[in-house]
């Protein structure tokens, strides 16, 4: 087998960075998540935008999601996610396997990025855990098309998310709040030592709609670098099931 095929195979075996709030019933198999965001980075300035994600519960054990993001820093992104439920306990805890593909384009930078990820998830009453790996290609497409070397491949980046909810999330509730520590969000996958710390809130309105809010910080440097403040972010939106 050609060596070049190995990363490609690894890529196809890899990514999805699925959001973990998804109580979808059989009668309401579609969930639409939409939120606006504001991101402030100390070094590179601020950045606002919007995200839309549509999830389809195709069967009791399989969910497919597509999503798109627009950011004012001249970034557009699209994501495809498949989530299989491998095990469900009698009280509703679930073991999942998620596979996603993320494409991001930075028009002003002439750069594109393609990430594939594979994650195992555990969704319990108060806890969501995700652990996985992702592979990423960064491409300077103009350079590539001119025959130059314009690609960098970053393999086996660890992805993790630890999310705790105050109330049992497996039982429908009017509202819930939680904390999250991870190195990724819906459309950004940082390297393993660059973290996001955030607080999340959900509030249920009538007619299968939740309001959603998340506020967090994004320090630079941790573990083998001394940490310094970099930025913060705010997500505000709604989740609607159909």
């Amino acid at each position: 087998m050609k060596k070049a095929l190995i990363p490609l195979l690894l890529l196809f075996l890899s990514v999805p960075a699925a959001n973990s709030q998804e109580p979808i019933s059989k009668s309401h198999p579609l969930t639409l998540t939409g939120y606006g965001f504001y991101d402030f980075h100390y070094a590179t300035g601020d950045n606002g935008g919007g995200v839309l994600v549509l999830d389809w519960q195709a069967s009791p054990s399989f969910k497919l999601g597509i999503g798109a993001e627009y950011a004012s820093s001249n970034r557009i992104a699209a994501r495809l996610t498949g989530q299989a439920t491998l095990l469900t306990t009698p009280i509703g805890q679930r073991l999942t396997l998620e596979n996603s593909y993320l494409w991001r384009h930075f028009p002003s930078l002439n750069l594109q990025e393609f990430t594939g990820a594979l994650q195992v998830g555990w969704h319990a009453r108060h806890l969501n855990l995700h652990l996985g790996l992702c592979n990423r290609y960064i491409a300077e497409l103009i350079q590539r098309s001119n025959g130059g070397q314009g690609t960098v491949f970053e393999p086996m980046n660890v992805m993790f998310a630890i999310e705790g909810w105050w109330y049992n999330q497996l039982v429908p509730r009017q509202w819930n709040i939680g904390l999250r520590w991870s190195n990724y969000n819906d459309f950004v996958i940082e390297r393993v030592a660059n973290w996001f710390f955030s607080a999340k809130a959900l509030y249920q309105l009538p007619e299968y709609t939740h309001l959603y809010a998340e506020i967090g910080i994004h320090p630079v440097g941790s573990l083998n670098l001394t940490a310094s403040y970099d930025g913060w972010f705010l997500h505000l939106g709604a989740i609607r099931t159909f």
């Binding site: 930078l109 750069l111 130059g148 970053e154």
Partner: protein
């Protein structure tokens, strides 16, 4: 107390009392932040004339290493400096961050003294690395090397000018002030034959070394901005360290080269500046 609790307590106490690993610094910066440090570096630059090396040959060589982590034995650093001094085309050397591996001023004093004794004719330029700001050590870096955000111009006898830029990425960010300074400097790109940028923290995460995993990179937003800045201005060479192994990439026509360290995989880089910039690794 359960054995597991005893283990965790012992490990925490051992790490907290360690003079090599700044445990609290992994989560909170208790020295200066990047912005404050860069302000200090630029203030020093304002008070001192920029370094210009005039009368260089049209083809010359620069010796580059990083991650020397001085811990008493200085043999490999001496060999590196001696190699540059012995090369008739050698113009200067560069130590690209991580001088120290422990708290205190000793490693900085030691490197300063080695540079003075081994590079009498030539000089050595230094940048700050993440280990150099552990335990609030940047004060010692400042005491001996004064600045980590600066530029050096080389003027050759044939009339060419090359620019070497040195950056502070000790906290895994260059910060707003430094990026602005860098952008301003790169506006004058067309005045120079070559521009070589030096920073400690590696931009990419393409391979792993057990001794430096997991070490952090720049945040994504900054990393992409920097890549674009380098390709927009067709920087001739971008030099990095941090992960203790050798690595080379070309993106947007810009070569990104990582030097190894002087301990596990001891080697340095020899950069030749002529009509084109080329480089090779030399094992120690």
């Amino acid at each position: 107390m359960k054995p597991q609790h005893l283990f965790i307590l012992t490990a925490t106490l051992a790490l907290a009392s360690c003079n090599r690993l700044d445990v609290t610094g992994m989560f909170f910066s208790h020295g200066t932040h990047t912005e404050d440090r860069v302000a200090q570096w630029l203030e020093w630059n304002d008070q001192h004339p920029a370094t210009v090396i005039a009368g260089a040959p049209d083809q010359y060589r620069v010796y580059v290493c990083s991650d020397i982590h001085l811990e008493g034995n200085t043999d490999r650093v001496e060999r590196f400096l001696r190699a540059e001094g012995a090369d008739s085309q050698g113009l200067f050397s560069i130590v690209n961050g991580d001088i120290a591996n422990e708290s205190g001023s000793r490693p900085f004093r030691q490197l300063d003294s080695l540079i003075s004794s081994h590079a009498a004719a030539d000089t050595c330029f230094v940048t700050i690395g993440n280990h150099d700001i552990y335990f609030d050590c940047q004060q010692y870096f400042q005491q001996y090397f004064h600045t980590s955000t600066y530029a050096v111009t080389v003027q050759t006898v044939g009339g060419a000018k090359d620019l070497f830029i040195f950056l502070d990425s000790g906290n895994a960010t260059h910060g707003r002030r430094q990026l602005d300074w860098l952008k301003q400097l790169l506006q004058q790109r067309d005045q120079y034959r070559h521009v070589v940028v030096n920073t400690h923290t590696c931009l990419f995460r393409t391979s792993y070394n057990y001794s430096t995993t997991p070490a952090a990179n720049l945040p994504e937003e900054e990393y992409y901005e920097l890549l674009d800045l380098m390709s927009q201005h067709q920087v001739s060479l971008f030099l990095m360290g941090h992960f203790h192994h050798k690595e080379q990439h070309i993106l947007g026509n810009v070569p990104y080269v990582m030097t190894s360290n002087l301990n596990e995989d001891p080697s340095y880089l020899v950069v030749t500046c002529a009509d084109k910039v080329s480089y090779r690794y030399e094992e120690i």
